[in-house]
């Protein structure tokens, strides 16, 4: 999933910092819940883009979609292990082309109707259907007959069979060892056909699923309220009665609200982070993990002088990465390669590029880049990004390069990196959608992705050959070996300046428990619970409320 370089990556709170400092326009409807109800109060900078699983492809949407709907399989709360969800058991053919699932009998949508294999088929066919314009279509096109179905030649995709209401079989046109992970994405979530057809494009506003929560209210730009699904099939979940998310509260305002005890979980603004870490009482309330994200400075390998590998390596030596991490208050791990730690295939022995300006100068000289060269770097106008950009500007000035910053909005930045010969340098990040190196290495460095996700227009015949070979290997050991080999070539070719892997931090109130951060996905809201926080109605947070 595409993401800007950000310090805060608890996905719930990601999203560009809102320019609106207006803040909270809607107060918590405290009276709408009975006293004693377990309500979790959150705040978001930006509105949730959508709650339609076919449409959402960002962390903010997924945080809520993953508790409104169910997929056949899903991840454990804090690891990449797949667990049963709608499916109780499943089998995979040895060549990884046939996937059979046996559904549970006790799952039902919140409109009361049972979830059957036909619903799962309908939901996936809806994503494949070009009329839905879903970005998830790419993950299901390898299904047999998917192209025919998309073209309207067949009523159903041939590769999805539903022999009975509780069995569903997927057949692929070629082996795909990671197809299970694709089925764990919210794109594959079961939606009720009758509700989708009733509301059409407006389904997101009237979301009905089978997950632990259901949508109670979504006022654009104001608040989103989810309430417990009393008929959820897993007993004891969710642990909360409701989740209330205020929308339009920027990071700084979130912090003030957190200190005032008005919200239960908050991100920590850069300026407050050092203070929090120096205060044992607050530090004990933080939760953090290294995200499966790599932040990088991309170099367009087709644009001179960046078509010269020496120039790209020189940039890698010239940028002081530990300094970037220090600027982020240590909320990052220096990147030495493409894959983030925790990702299968991650190679802890990869050496990467140490900070060495002398070596950078030598390489630039060899490549014939003269002092005063002034390349333009594209980046979002997010304040954190601008500070990081200026830090890189400082570093490059020391080797005679006058970097020019070009801050733009998110949309134009993505457009620019998809256009050949447009952006020579750019600051971006990539987060994995599923735990497999293919999701980084093939998606970002194969020739097929030129003009799409291969933003550096990188091409290497050997890499291309190995990528094709690795994608169908089902044996994990062999598979990861091949990907490590690919990664080593890419690191040597240096299409990116490998910057850092962000470390996400959140802080909770003392009465909030059960937050479990997932390496790839937003934290699941259904495991969170709250204990009594003193007299009902009293909104102070006790000792965390002290000011300096």
């Amino acid at each position: 999933m595409r993401g800007a370089l950000r310090t805060v990556l608890f996905a719930a709170f990601a999203g560009a910092l809102a320019l609106t400092i207006g803040g909270c326009r809607a107060d918590l409807p405290a009276d709408s819940f009975p006293s004693g109800a377990a309500v979790l109060r959150l705040a978001l900078a930006d509105d949730v883009p959508t709650l339609d699983p076919a449409a959402g492809y960002d962390a903010a949407s997924w945080e809520f979609e993953q508790v409104l709907y169910d997929t056949l399989v899903r991840y454990a709360a804090d690891s990449n292990e797949l667990r049963p969800d709608l499916a109780l058991s499943w089998g995979i053919s040895p060549d990884a082309t046939v996937f059979t699932f046996h559904l549970r009998h006790d799952a039902s949508f919140t409109n009361g109707r049972q979830v059957t294999s036909a619903d799962v088929r309908y939901s996936i066919e809806r994503v494949i259907n070009p009329k839905t314009r879903s970005q998830g279509v790419q993950y299901f096109l390898p299904l047999l007959g998917a192209a025919d179905f998309a073209a309207g030649r067949t009523p159903h995709a041939r590769g999805i069979e539903t022999p009975d209401p509780y069995t569903i079989i997927f057949r692929l046109d070629k082996p795909d060892p990671i197809f299970l992970h694709k089925l764990a994405m919210p794109f594959a979530a079961a939606v009720p056909k009758e509700v989708v057809e009733r509301w059409g494009e407006d389904f997101a506003r009237h979301a009905v699923g089978s997950g632990p929560f259901m949508l109670k209210q979504w006022l654009s730009g104001q608040r989103l309220i989810l309430v417990k699904n009393p008929h959820y099939f897993l007993s004891g979940l969710p642990k909360l009665d409701a989740v209330v998310a205020l929308i339009g509260v920027n990071e700084e305002l979130q912090w003030l609200k957190f200190e005032a005890g008005e919200i239960d979980i908050s991100s920590i603004p850069p300026a407050e982070f050092t203070y929090v870490m120096k205060t044992p009482r607050l530090k004990a309330l933080t939760i953090h993990h290294v995200t499966a994200v790599t932040s990088y400075l991309g170099m367009n390998c087709q644009m001179p002088p960046f078509n010269d590998v020496r120039v790209r390596q020189a940039f890698n030596y010239a940028v002081n990465k530990p300094k970037l991490v220090a600027i982020l208050n240590g909320r990052g791990v220096v990147a030495r390669g493409v894959l983030p730690p925790g990702m299968p295939g991650y190679d802890p022995d990869i050496s990467g590029y140490a900070y060495d300006p002398a070596k950078a100068r030598r390489l630039l000289e060899e490549a014939g880049v003269r002092a005063g060269f002034a390349p333009v770097v594209w980046l979002t106008s997010d304040p954190t990004m601008l500070v990081l950009g200026q830090s890189i500007q400082q570093d490059l000035a020391l080797v005679g390069i006058n970097l020019v910053l070009k801050p733009v909005a998110w949309g134009p930045l993505l457009d620019a990196v998809r256009e050949p010969h447009t952006a020579e340098l750019f600051l971006l990040g990539w987060g994995a959608d599923f735990p497999d190196p293919q999701n980084f290495l093939e998606v970002l460095f194969s020739k097929e992705q030129w003009g799409a996700n291969n933003d550096t227009f990188y091409y290497d015949p050997k890499v291309q050959e190995l990528l094709t070979e690795a994608s169908v290997v089902a044996d994990p050991k062999r598979r990861y070996e091949l990907y490590q080999q690919i990664q080593q070539i890419i690191v040597n070719d240096a299409p990116w300046v490998f910057l850092y892997h962000p470390v996400a931090y959140v802080i909770r109130q003392p009465w909030v428990h059960g937050i479990r951060l997932h390496p790839l996905r937003p934290a699941r809201l259904d495991y969170i619970y709250v204990t009594a926080r003193g007299a009902e109605g009293e909104q102070t947070s006790g000792e965390t409320n002290q000011t300096r």
């Binding site: 700084e252 603004p269 850069p270 300026a271 407050e272 982070f273 050092t274 203070y275 300094k323 220090a326 600027i327 982020l328 208050n329 240590g330 106008s381 304040p383 601008l386 500070v387 950009g389 200026q390 830090s391 500007q393 400082q394 000035a397 020019v404 910053l405 801050p407 300096r548």
Partner: protein, 272 residues
């Protein structure tokens, strides 16, 4: 009339401030203790408080705030003074022509001025900077573009009051050309007003420049500018208030100086 004579206190204070800024800007490389773009302290991500070594502290990129303030004076003065000069030139020319010729010339010029005046200056400047790429030259031109209108109006009014005075009529009777009348006879008599307007509008252009920088539309980094310094320090407002305080103070100092100077000139002209 410009009268020589003792300087009033407004002129002394305002003039001293303006002069001090010019000196600081001119000799920035000599005065500044450090390079304003380099990291000189290891205060990455955690701004350093004012100390003996760094009297105004260091920012989140380890740069010396005092040196950045000193270099920031350059950008502010270059933009402020040049934009003022361009705005004054355009404004005086438009006002003189409108007041002197009247008729269609006045009609066209003054309606144009009215239209420009209906548009809020900062918004107009933001729109222009967003369309053109931010650079020293575009910022300067955009600020002049939104600042000349007030001058044009005042100059027109002054010119109107001059054109029927005896000395102008006399010169006209002696066969002086329109150009000569405007430059030799009307201009010198409206100069005191123009000087007052120039000093006052400098503080306006300074503020506009700081405003644009604050909104991220000013002179691009790494060139230090006061407005951007305030903007970048916003998030540290509670933990490192000195970061925003010093550049804010610098803006206050400069604007105050030029305003005092302007009022000083005004008092010289109308002693009451």
């Amino acid at each position: 009339m410009i009268r020589a004579g003792r300087l009033n206190w407004l002129e002394i204070v305002g003039g001293t401030i303006a002069l001090s800024l010019v000196v600081v800007a001119l000799f920035a490389p000599v005065i500044a203790p450090h390079d304003p773009t380099r990291a000189v302290a290891q205060t990455f991500g955690d701004p350093g408080p004012p100390s003996l070594a760094f009297p105004c502290g260091t920012d989140q990129l380890g740069r010396d705030v005092l040196s950045r303030l000193i270099y920031g004076a350059r950008v502010s003065l270059i933009v402020g003074l040049s934009a003022m000069a361009v705005a004054m030139t355009v404004g005086v020319a438009a006002g003189l022509c409108a007041g002197f010729f009247g008729g269609w010339t006045e009609m066209v010029l003054m309606r144009l001025t009215d239209v420009m005046l209906t548009l809020p200056g900062l918004l107009l400047a933001m729109a222009f900077v967003a369309i053109l790429r931010p650079s020293l030259l575009t910022i300067l031109l955009v600020i002049s573009l939104v600042s000349w209108t007030g001058v044009a109006r005042v100059v027109r009014a002054e010119t109107l009051s001059m054109t029927n005075r005896d000395f102008v009529l006399a010169a006209r009777a002696l066969g002086a050309s329109a150009g000569r009348l405007m430059i030799r006879h009307v201009m010198p008599n409206i100069m005191p007003t123009v000087v007052v307007m120039a000093a006052l509008s400098t503080s306006g252009t300074l503020l506009l420049d700081a405003g644009l920088s604050f909104l991220g539309l000013g002179v691009p980094p790494p060139t230090p500018s006061w407005g951007r310094m305030v903007e970048e320090s916003q998030i540290y407002f509670r933990t490192a208030p000195w970061l925003a305080f010093f550049p804010g103070l610098a803006i206050l100092y400069a604007v105050l100086g030029f305003n005092l100077l302007g009022y000083g000139f005004l008092r010289r002209r109308n002693p009451q």
